[in-house]
C-alpha cells in the first residue's frame, strides 16, 4: 500500500522492468530489470548510447510494449491494466520522425489535435512558443521540412493535447549543436508548465541540462542522480593533459604503466592515475623526460562523460 501512495506523487514509477527480443536465433536482452522513479514536474534524462535500451523503456512506458518482468506506472496508472487511460494522458515523440510527410504542417497538427479530442486553439498557449517558429511554413508538407523544423513540429504534435507526462525519445539525435540548444531551451520552458518530461539522448553533455539523469548502458542503469552529484561521485582525481604533440602524447600516456585510464576530450586527454596520490609535478616531470613541449597538466572535475566511461568500465570489467 505504501507503494501506491508513492505512485500518486510520482510522474513515473518503474519497478524491475525486463524486456527481451529475439534477433534471428539469439536472444537480445534490451532491459535487464531496471527500476527508478520520476517525480511529477521533473525533467528527467535517460542518457546512453544506441542499444542501451532507451527506446524499449519508452515503449514500455507509453504502453506500446509489454515488459516480461516488473511493473510500471505512469501518472499513477498501471501500464498494462490502464493502458487506455495512459494513452489519453501522455505525449510521445518517437525517435524516428513519425508524422505524415505528405500532409502539411498545419494538417498534421490539426489531425493530432482532433484524434486527441482537442483543437489547436484550445491548447495554443502551450505550443505557441514553438509553433510560432514553424508557423511561416504551415502550408509546407512535413516531408519537405528541415531536421530542426520537423523536430519542432513533432514536439507540437506531442504537446497538443496538454499531456501530463511527455516522452521524448532521442529528440536531438542527428541535430546540430545550435538546434539542440534551442530544443533544450524549449524543454526548460515546458517544465515551467508543470509537465513531467522524460527525455532520452545519446549526447552526454545534455545530461547537465536535466534535473536528474539515469545513465544507461546494455539494458542497465549505471547511475541515477542529479548530474552534479554524478560528477561528484567520480572516485579518483582526474587530470587534463595537453602538449604540443598530441598524437605522440596519447601513445606515451597509454603505455605509461602508472596511468589507469586515458581518454581524449577535445583538446585534452583526461587521465586517471593508478595511484590517487600522484602529484601534478610527477606527471609533468615524466612527460618532460619524454621530451614533450608546452606541457599542460591540470586537475579537473569529472564531467558526465568521464563518469559514464568509468561506470561502463566498472560494469563491463
Amino acid at each position: 500500500m505504501a507503494k501506491f501512495n508513492l505512485n500518486k506523487m510520482s510522474g513515473v514509477v518503474v519497478e524491475n522492468i525486463g524486456k527481451k527480443y529475439l534477433v534471428g536465433k539469439s536472444e537480445l536482452v534490451a532491459l535487464k530489470g531496471i527500476s527508478f522513479e520520476v517525480t511529477k514536474g521533473e525533467l528527467f534524462g535517460i542518457v546512453g548510447p544506441d542499444g542501451a535500451g532507451k527506446t524499449s523503456l519508452f515503449r514500455v512506458l507509453t504502453t506500446l510494449l509489454l515488459a516480461e518482468t516488473g511493473r510500471a506506472w505512469v501518472d499513477g496508472l498501471d501500464t498494462v491494466k490502464d493502458y487506455k487511460e495512459i494513452r489519453k494522458r501522455v505525449g510521445y515523440m518517437p525517435g524516428k520522425f513519425s508524422l505524415y510527410q505528405d500532409l502539411t504542417v498545419e494538417e498534421n497538427l490539426d489531425f493530432f489535435a482532433t484524434i486527441f479530442n482537442t483543437s489547436i486553439e484550445e491548447n495554443y498557449d502551450l505550443i505557441k512558443d514553438i509553433y510560432q517558429q514553424i508557423e511561416p511554413f504551415k502550408k509546407r508538407r512535413a516531408g519537405k521540412l528541415s531536421g530542426g523544423m520537423k523536430q519542432k513540429l513533432a514536439l507540437c504534435c506531442a504537446l497538443i493535447h496538454k499531456p501530463t507526462v511527455l516522452f521524448l525519445d532521442e529528440p536531438t539525435t542527428g541535430v546540430d549543436a545550435v538546434s539542440r540548444k534551442e530544443f533544450w531551451d524549449m524543454l526548460q520552458r515546458l517544465k515551467q508548465q508543470g509537465i513531467t518530461i522524460l527525455v532520452s539522448t545519446p549526447y552526454m553533455d545534455e545530461a547537465a541540462l536535466c534535473d536528474r539523469v539515469a545513465l544507461m548502458q546494455n539494458g542497465r542503469i549505471l547511475a541515477i542522480d542529479r548530474p552534479e552529484n554524478i560528477n561528484k561521485s567520480f572516485a579518483h582525481p582526474l587530470w587534463a593533459v595537453q602538449s604540443e604533440n598530441m598524437l605522440g602524447l596519447h601513445k606515451t600516456l597509454k603505455q605509461w604503466d602508472a596511468v589507469a585510464s586515458c581518454y581524449s576530450f577535445g583538446e585534452y586527454y583526461h587521465i586517471v592515475m593508478k595511484n590517487d596520490d600522484s602529484s601534478m609535478d610527477s606527471i609533468q616531470n615524466y612527460l618532460h623526460d619524454k621530451e614533450y613541449q608546452q606541457i599542460l597538466v591540470k586537475k579537473i572535475d569529472a564531467n558526465i562523460e568521464d563518469c559514464f566511461m568509468d561506470l561502463m568500465n566498472n560494469a563491463n570489467g
Binding site: L64, L65, K88, P94, K96, S98, F111
Partner: protein, 368 residues
C-alpha cells in the same frame, strides 16, 4: 465521431496527394476493360478460314456460306487436298481449316449423322480454342437451322469453354471477372499497404499512443478505398454498357449491393494481410500472390473450374472472387434475380464476417 472523420479526411489527403497511385487505381479498370474488350473481340473477328470441301453439295455450300457470313470468320481459301493444309498454316495466314467429308449432305439427310473436322493452328492454343468454339457454335446454329431436332455427333466435341451468349461475345464473361479483380486489388491490396505504411513510417506508434480505438483506425483507413472501389464499379459498368455493348440485364441496385458486399470482403482480406505483415513490400507481395493469383485462376473467368482436378476445384470454393463472379454473371448477363444468387451471397457474407473477426482479433493494440 469527429476523430473518425478527421482520420478519413487525412486518408483522402494521402490518396489525393499520391497522384500516380490514384491515377493507376482509377485508370486500371478502364484500361483493363478496354484492353480485354477489344483484344478479345479483334482476335476472333475476321479470322482467316480455309475450307477443304470434299462433298461440294448443297449442304456443304450452305455451311460454308454460314461460316463466312459470320463476322468472326473470313473464308479466304478453298483447299483441294489435305496436302494443302500444312502450307496455309505455315504461311500463318489461316488459323482454322474446316474439312467437310464426302457425302456430307447425304449423310445428314439419311443417317442424321455427319462429320466435320476442324483443324486449328495450335501454336496459339488460346486463339485456337476460341476459334474452335466459335466454329462449333456456328455449326450448331447451322444444324438448328436445318430443323433437325436430333443431335449431330461431331468428331470435334462441342466442348464449351466459356459461357457463351448467342452473339458470342467474350466481353460478357470477362466484365464480371475484371470487376472481381479490380475490387480485390483496390480494396485488399491498397488497404493493406496503407495500414502497413503507417507501421513502416512509425506513425502507427503515435496513433497507438492516442485515445483512438483500433477498430476506428482500421475502418477509417478502409472507407476511402471503399468509395474508390465504388467509383471503379461505376466506371466498369458504364464502359461495359456504352463501349462494349454488354447490357445489364438484371437489377442494377442488386448488382451494386453485391459489389458493395464484395468490396467489404476484400477490405477484410486487406486488413488480415496488414495484420500479418510489417512492410509495404511484403504486403504487396502477399496481396499479389494471395489475392491476385487465386482471383485470376479460381474465379473461373480465365480458366474453367470444371476442367480442374478435383482438389483444385475444392480449393476454388474458398476464393471469394469465385462466388462474386458467379453472382455478377447471373445478375448482369443472365438477368436473374436475388433468388438465384442468395446462396452465393450468403457464402460471401459469411466469409466477410469470419475475415473481419480474424483481423480485428489480430489487430495489435501494442507494437509487438
Amino acid at each position: 465521431m469527429k476523430q473518425f472523420i478527421a482520420f478519413i479526411k487525412k486518408e483522402f489527403f494521402h490518396i489525393w496527394r499520391d497522384k500516380r497511385t490514384l491515377f493507376i487505381l482509377l485508370g486500371m479498370p478502364i484500361t483493363q476493360i478496354i484492353i480485354f474488350g477489344f483484344a478479345l473481340s479483334n482476335e476472333v473477328k475476321n479470322s482467316k478460314l480455309a475450307i477443304l470441301d470434299f462433298s461440294k453439295d448443297v449442304a456443304s455450300q450452305q455451311l460454308i456460306q454460314k461460316l463466312s457470313a459470320s463476322k468472326y470468320f473470313d473464308a479466304t481459301a478453298q483447299l483441294k487436298s489435305f496436302k494443302d493444309v500444312e502450307p496455309v498454316f505455315r504461311q500463318g495466314k489461316v488459323k482454322i481449316v474446316v474439312v467437310i467429308p464426302q457425302q456430307f449432305a447425304n449423310d445428314l439427310q439419311h443417317t442424321n449423322q455427319a462429320q466435320i473436322q476442324l483443324i486449328c493452328d495450335g501454336s496459339d492454343p488460346n486463339v485456337a480454342s476460341t476459334l474452335k468454339n466459335y466454329a462449333t457454335a456456328v455449326i450448331m446454329d447451322f444444324q438448328k437451322a436445318l430443323g433437325n431436332q436430333q443431335k449431330l455427333p461431331y468428331r470435334i466435341e462441342p466442348e464449351i469453354r466459356m459461357m457463351y451468349n448467342p452473339e458470342l461475345k467474350g466481353a460478357y464473361s470477362f466484365v464480371p471477372g475484371v470487376m472481381a479483380l479490380i475490387l480485390m486489388l483496390t480494396c485488399a491490396m491498397m488497404t493493406s499497404i496503407a495500414i502497413v505504411k503507417e507501421k513502416e513510417m512509425g506513425t502507427m506508434e503515435i496513433i497507438l499512443v492516442s485515445p483512438l480505438k483500433p477498430f476506428g483506425v482500421v475502418v477509417a483507413k478502409a472507407v476511402p478505398y471503399m468509395l474508390l472501389s465504388m467509383v471503379n464499379v461505376a466506371s466498369i459498368l458504364l464502359l461495359s454498357v456504352f463501349v462494349l455493348d454488354v447490357p445489364i440485364r438484371g437489377s442494377l441496385l442488386l448488382l451494386i449491393s453485391e459489389g458493395l458486399l464484395f468490396t467489404i470482403t476484400s477490405l477484410a482480406l486487406g486488413l488480415l494481410i496488414s495484420s500479418i505483415t510489417d512492410s509495404q513490400q511484403v504486403a504487396m507481395l502477399v496481396s499479389l500472390m494471395g489475392l491476385f493469383l487465386p482471383t485470376t485462376v479460381f474465379s473461373g473467368y480465365m480458366f474453367p473450374i470444371e476442367n480442374m482436378p478435383l482438389p483444385l476445384q475444392i480449393i476454388s470454393n474458398i476464393v471469394p472472387a469465385k462466388w462474386f463472379y458467379f453472382i455478377v454473371k447471373t445478375i448482369m448477363i443472365k438477368g436473374l434475380g436475388f433468388s438465384y444468387v442468395w446462396k452465393e451471397t450468403l457464402i460471401l457474407f459469411g466469409m466477410t464476417i469470419v475475415l473481419f473477426g480474424i483481423s480485428i482479433k489480430n489487430f495489435k493494440t501494442r507494437l509487438a
